[in-house]
């Protein structure tokens, strides 16, 4: 067990966990922040995507011991970011979600894309979102929502 001081959504959070514990489980079970989801545990599906110093990061494979002082942003706070807010609103407006389980990760990835590339091409979207799995296959509407958000940025 070790103690870590994490910067989560701008707040300092202290946790006592095994160093190898993935950030995902620290968020979900120590901090009770269940917006970030567990889908596979091997970074293949993207449901666990958070931002670490602004970089979209798959929290299920990053041990908490490797985070350090980097700033973590989760789905619970992404609305505070203007791009995040625009993306969420576009998601709602385009009725993207079905079961919704993958959508926290989809949104966090989409926000990372739009922050780097505010006017993405179809290929940009396909490449950047290409690692986020949705078993309900809401992909068509995900593309539409990203394009819609892009137009508003």
């Amino acid at each position: 067990m070790a103690t870590y001081q994490l910067n989560v959504n701008g707040q300092s959070k202290k946790v006592d966990v095994d160093p190898g514990t993935p950030l995902l489980w620290v968020l979900r079970e120590e901090l009770k922040m269940t917006g970030t989801k567990y889908g596979c545990g091997i970074s293949a599906c993207g449901a666990c995507t958070v931002h670490v110093d602004g970089i979209a990061t798959r929290s299920c494979v990053v041990p908490v011991s490797l985070i350090g002082t980097r700033r973590i942003t989760t789905i619970e706070a992404i609305a505070q970011d203007p791009v995040g807010r625009t993306v969420q609103n576009a998601w709602v407006e385009k009725d993207v979600v079905q079961c919704g389980y993958c959508q926290s990760g989809q949104i966090m990835s989409a926000v990372a894309l739009l922050k780097a590339t505010p006017k993405p091409t179809e290929q940009n979207i396909e490449e950047s979102m290409g690692g986020n799995l949705c078993r309900c296959a809401t992909y068509v509407r995900i593309r539409e929502a990203i394009k819609s958000a892009s137009q508003q940025l």
Partner: protein, 732 residues
């Protein structure tokens, strides 16, 4: 069977009802299912008593005006928490902005009116509960009006309701919120007047989902997100071969992890396993992975995909138990060899892999229990938990949690996941136990869409139409040995093995269909659209081949081959033609169009795809879909279901879209080895067109799935000249 909606719909409670449900007394569960297929009607049973649904179990109007509508099915993506409340709110004349959906706990009153168990599946959410929810809304409205009329001492006939307000003569009005409490004391009316479709202002409209925001901001809780005081997490070590039993366990390393509470053997649905209980999921999983277990595999069949493939292929070359024997047996032999086709198909096991891993939470309190499960089979799971704990079902309070997908995986006849949770909870009195199946357990844990082999022989008539069709299907039965068997197995054949073929709408005068249901040591289950996943692929690719041989346009050929009574299919082919001809006739070089159509669960679908080949894989640029689902309740959710179902159906064509076994062990482990479609695998555009209709609504959950794979493969064949009869599609 489904009454078309007439102009004045007066529905009496003693109407014809298709419900037939009975539960056995102590011990086992006996559920009689009345499937909506004439072939499976229970002969000689009396007309079942009409079901009375008490509105107060479904609608609750709060003093602040909020209207809570209880949804009798799991919400797992299909949008039912919006569409069924829409139906009720329509007849209730409720202010839609005040509606809040709730998922029903397990209870008698929430059972599916047709199937007699509380469930979601068979694309029945709307189709089975449409009338039910309309009546509930209308009854509630009547009671609110009666309550206002009472207060105003006027006749209810001079009152009307609109947008959560009752209006009376002389400018009188009262909000539902004010009337609600008194209204519940009104007698529930026996007859209600339902709206004429022309009066609808919600039904038929593109109403946005009610759960969108919560699912976009991380606040939506799923079963896996549950957190209760004192809760512990359990992860189970399952045998590497189905039915294996624990011989010995070395748990020294596991017990050393801080937070591990206990490690012990438990019985499983097949064989035995070892449960690890810990404070946290990560600890439980690490401890479970650190167990060194010796398994007893003696006497257990070691399923092997290549052996099964050989065995199934051989079986398919022999006649099985007969399902359909129509016309002249000799027609085939009279067809010259030049006009005969023999085709053999192979389909692998498929895992569902819903995004939310399987989970169930149970707390055992000695004389009662509480359970939280994202369940497609609430009353069955409740009963199984009760049995595991030595309780009666009514002693188990069963909450339905939102589910991250299901596709059939959460509708398990043996309730094995909730039962595992219950057996573990039994050892931890008053402690909620959240059982989690990590993704690896899900991929390797069985309950797959069965693998199948087909063999079809076709004798083509001189007119290019199939004159004789002889079809053998081989695949495990999903329901054999379960309470569903009596209803779904006829002449030794599981209906789910042959659906989509046995009831084909193509007019084939001499049609012989038989099937084998071999026993294999691999648990199997329904996978979104069930038998249609493989039967539609076989039929639609063969029909396309016939069209090519006859040098006919594939849509025209299907129009000619379909029975004239197949109205829905004709309608969707027409609509598809209209909506896709533009792009189909203007394809760039290297592209081809693929067509398919299929009817299942009462809904007809036709599909056209624009396909090219990139990096030895099909690249699907676009799909156009035409749908006939009767009255479209919410065209927005229908469009989503079809876009999503098409994407889901593409799982079958993925290069790594197969579960295979070697020496009894599943070879895949996670999404790296069993890979469903990502965004690049699905067309950028899927345009959905709905045939306008006021017929009774039919389902949209499963009908999209069977059409996409044959449509894509039909396009590929036009590009490469090759036939694709073995899935998954490894190389094009």
């Amino acid at each position: 069977m489904r009454a078309a909606m007439k102009k004045n719909d007066e529905l009496h409670l003693n109407r014809r009802s298709f419900l037939c449900a009975s539960t056995a007394a102590a011990g086992g569960l006996l559920v009689s299912l009345y499937l909506d297929f004439p072939a499976f009607a229970q002969e000689g049973s009396p007309a079942p008593p009409p079901k009375v649904y008490a509105p107060d179990a479904f609608v609750r109007i709060e003093p602040n005006g909020k209207i809570f509508i209880t949804v009798n099915r799991l919400e797992f993506g299909q949008g039912v928490q919006t569409s069924l409340p829409m139906v009720l709110a329509e007849e209730l004349d409720a202010d839609w902005s005040q509606v809040v959906p709730e998922l029903a706990p397990a209870a008698e009153v929430y059972k599916d009116p047709l199937f007699g168990i509380q469930m979601v599946g068979g694309s029945g959410s709307i189709s089975h509960s449409f009338q039910q929810y309309r009546e509930l809304g209308a009854k509630t409205r009547a009671m609110l009006i009666a309550s206002a009329a009472d207060r105003w001492k006027v006749s209810p006939n001079v009152c009307r309701a609109e947008n959560s307000v009752v209006y009376g003569p002389g400018g009188k009005s009262a909000r539902y919120a004010e009337l609600a409490e008194r209204a519940t004391r009104q007698p529930v009316p026996n007859t209600v007047r339902l709206k004429n479709p022309s009066e609808f202002h919600l039904i038929g409209k593109k109403v946005p989902r009610l759960d969108s925001r919560a699912k976009c901001d991380g606040s939506q809780k799923f079963g896996l997100d549950l957190d209760l005081p004192g809760m512990k997490v359990a992860v189970v070590a399952h045998p590497p071969v189905f039915g294996g039993r624990v011989k010995s366990v070395d748990d020294k390393e596991a017990r050393r992890l801080s937070g591990v509470k206990d490690i012990f053997e438990i019985p499983l649905a097949r064989g035995t396993g070892v449960a690890v209980v810990a404070d946290r999921f990560w600890t439980a999983k690490q401890a479970r992975d650190g167990l060194r277990i010796e398994w007893d595999l003696s006497g257990i069949e070691l399923a092997d995909s290549s052996q099964l493939s050989t065995r199934f292929k051989e079986l398919a070359r022999t006649t099985g138990n007969v399902v359909v024997a129509r016309g002249d047996d000799k027609a085939m032999s009279r067809t010259p060899a030049a006009r005969r086709i023999v085709a053999e198909y192979e389909f692998p096991y498929l895992a569902h892999t819903p995004m939310e891993p399987l989970n169930a939470t149970v707390r055992f309190e000695g004389d009662k229990a509480e359970a939280w499960v994202p369940s497609q089979f609430q009353t069955m799971d409740q009963m199984a938990i009760a049995q595991a704990l030595g309780l009666k079902p009514e002693q188990v309070t069963f909450h339905t949690e939102y589910a991250g997908g299901g596709f059939g995986r959460r509708a398990v006849i043996d309730s094995h996941v909730p039962v595992e949770a219950a057996l573990i909870a039994k050892r931890f009195r008053d402690t909620p136990i959240k059982l989690v199946w990590p993704r690896e357990d899900d991929v390797r844990g069985g309950y797959y869409r069965p693998m199948h082999a087909h063999r079809v022989e076709i004798g083509i008539g001189a007119d290019g139409m199939p004159a004789a069709w002889r079809h053998v299907i081989v695949g495990q039965s999903i329901v054999a040995g379960t309470p569903f068997a009596a209803m779904m197995i006829r002449n030794g054949v599981d209906h789910t093995t042959v659906e989509g073929a046995s009831d084909t709408n193509y007019n084939i005068p001499n049609f012989h269909l038989s099937a084998h249901n071999p026993t294999v040591n691999v648990p199997v289950l329904w996978w979104r659209s069930v038998g249609n996943t493989h039967t539609a692929f076989v039929i639609e690719t063969l029909v396309d081949e016939l069209a090519m041989r006859a040098k006919m346009d594939p849509i025209a050929y299907r129009r000619k081959l379909l029975k004239s009574e197949a109205k829905k299919l004709h309608a969707v082919l027409d609509l598809l033609d209209e909506k896709s001809a533009g792009w189909r006739k203007n394809l760039p070089k290297g592209h081809a169009a693929g067509i398919s159509c299929h009817e299942c669960f009462g809904t007809a679908v036709a599909c056209a795809v624009d396909v090219s080949i990139e990096n030895k894989r099909p690249k699907i640029h676009r799909a156009t879909v035409a749908v006939h689902c009767g009255l479209p309740v919410n065209p927005l959710t229908i469009e989503s279901q079809f876009q999503g179902g098409i994407g889901f159906g593409l799982t079958q064509l993925m290069g790594q879209g197969a579960i295979t076994l070697k020496d009894g062990r599943v070879e895949q482990r996670n999404f790296d080895g069993y890979t469903p479609p990502y965004i690049g695998d699905v067309p950028v555009t899927i345009d959905v067109h709905i045939v306008p209709s006021t017929e009774a609504p039919t389902g949209c959950g499963e009908p999209p799935v069977p059409v996409i794979s044959p449509a894509v493969v039909n396009a590929l064949t036009r590009l490469t000249g090759k036939r694709y009869r073995n899935l998954p599609l490894v190389a094009v």
